[in-house]
Symmetry: C2
Subunit: 315 residues, 2 copies
């Protein structure tokens, strides 16, 4: 069996590319890296890699992580700047016994020294969006944009190995050095090849309050299906957070187990892409349903057309 699942419609082309590897018995790690690189490279996705929106100061700082489900090896970067593929840096770091999570200037210098491709990652389009936003904020005293579009991927290969990865430019207009859940083990991602894996997208500040990726994997390990594990962890914690913190930010989780079964749960409208040996690559849309369940439907052409128009609209 093989399978791969990823957050957001933006991951779909990456899923198509990763599928080509998985059918050829390439590793789950290669599939995760390939899928995420596609998203990082595409200029119209505003929350990951090239074309991502910058922080308050106009600097595009990126976070990424990679986890090997066979060994639990983790590599991660946060606040890395002008490196074409943060996910590849994270994957390389996962092979290190020490110093495998690197932040800020140290992360960027590591990537440069290791020969990772450097690239001016702030596009003209992203800069324009930022300039417009700076003006609006000056006028209206706004909150930062509650963007929550991390790409998170979980993959299973024919040899029963699993891997997970994330990549994000974080909140638009974030403060310099702000880090969300994406590079944090247990919050942004977690994977155990003997059980399954999970990854998150959403308000990182709230996701790290719940360690939901770890919790979903744990629930799958105690016998829950991926869908039941996602429902229980996400809706349970969302309720708890409202009661205890007063409010729960948007968050959405994906999961796949070692049999290639998958699930998602979300407290907002959420799209995702999935492919397995038994199912053609498909984009779905999910909403929170009644009684802590999730409503999942195939995406409509109408939705896709509107999305395409939206991401390429003139600034």
């Amino acid at each position: 069996m093989w399978g791969i699942i990823a957050t957001w419609r933006m991951a779909h082309e990456g899923i198509l590319a990763a599928k080509e590897l998985l059918v050829k018995e390439r590793s789950a790690g290669d599939a995760v890296e390939t899928a995420i690189k596609c998203v990082e490279d595409y200029p119209y996705y505003k929350s990951v890699g090239y074309g991502g929106l910058p922080n308050e100061e106009g600097v595009l700082e990126m976070d990424a992580a990679f986890m090997d489900g066979d060994t639990f090896a983790i590599g991660a970067v946060a606040g890395i700047v002008d490196i074409k593929n943060p996910i590849s840096v994270a994957r390389k770091l996962s092979k290190e016994k020490f110093n495998s999570f690197r932040v800020g200037a140290g992360a960027t210098r590591y990537a440069q020294a290791e020969g990772f491709e450097q690239k001016e990652m702030l596009t003209e389009r992203a800069k324009k969006i930022w300039e417009k936003r700076v003006e609006e904020v000056a006028k209206h005293q706004l909150d930062p944009y509650d963007g929550h579009d991390t790409v998170g991927v979980v993959a299973l290969d024919e040899l029963s190995s699993m891997a997970a990865g994330t990549s994000s430019s974080g909140l638009f207009m974030k403060k310099s050095g702000r880090v969300g859940d994406s590079p944090l083990s247990g919050s942004g991602f977690y994977v155990d090849s003997e059980i399954g894996g999970a990854a998150a997208t959403g308000l990182g500040e709230d996701l790290m309050k719940g360690c939901l990726s770890y919790e979903i994997v744990r629930l799958m390990g105690s016998g829950y299906s991926p869908q039941d594990a996602c429902d229980q962890a996400v809706y349970g914690f969302s309720e708890k957070l409202k009661k205890r913190y007063g409010k729960a930010g948007a968050f959405s989780l994906i999961a796949m187990n070692k049999e290639g079964q998958w699930g998602v749960a979300t407290n907002v409208e959420f799209t995702f892409s999935v492919a397995t040996k038994e199912t053609e690559p498909t984009i779905f849309i999910a909403h929170p349903g009644e009684n802590q369940t999730t409503v999942i439907e195939p995406i409509t052409q109408e939705w896709l057309d509107a999305y395409e128009k939206r991401i390429k609209a003139p600034i």
Copy 2:
């Protein structure tokens, strides 16, 4: 009931200071911050705050986190430089809905802008130790020092609120921008006032593979005593890591539940300090025992004398 537990003998003076607050019905948050500030301020502790040992480049980069067990609010910093009390910065950040985890230059600039006390944190003594080490490494091709002395604290106050915090200068001779588990929710710390809290010290790269602080709190929430929760999580994961990753770094966890009962587990020799309404502040020493248990004994005067001599020995 009130109680407080902290990693390592170095935390003991901080526990004494925090106890004075807890008996006066001050908050668990105040107790955690006070205890950790004592450790950050003491020049002879080489792995936390002032006097901490620097990274490979001779720069002292510090990590810290604070979590409020009532609301799950978290604040954290990583790679912060020349700020007297990173724990106080983390606590302040925990009050922010967005941008509450800050790394690198962004973390330092935030602390400066908010008026936190700035201080040259690298002592002459730490610099000497670093210079000596640089020479040795050049001669012998050594691994980085496997130091694992984060201060982690969990406290319970008379109003049944709980808090947790950590502070660390990380691995001696770490690479620039390296971050361990200390500022990472679920790995370095976790606390839920309706259950209990836990904190970790050890090889951060391995601790984040297991999310052990979260797991210990979860086990306490499902009915385990703090000691049984620590034993199960720590020894279970240590075995799993040896099997799957080939090796498990040193790690030690502390926990306290909402009744003020406590527990610890460790795969190395480990000292800690604890005080509750019913028990005078005491330093204990722990070792891994047989069949996934922990042997805990009061510290001897001989051990304390040798420790005092060691930390103040001429370089």
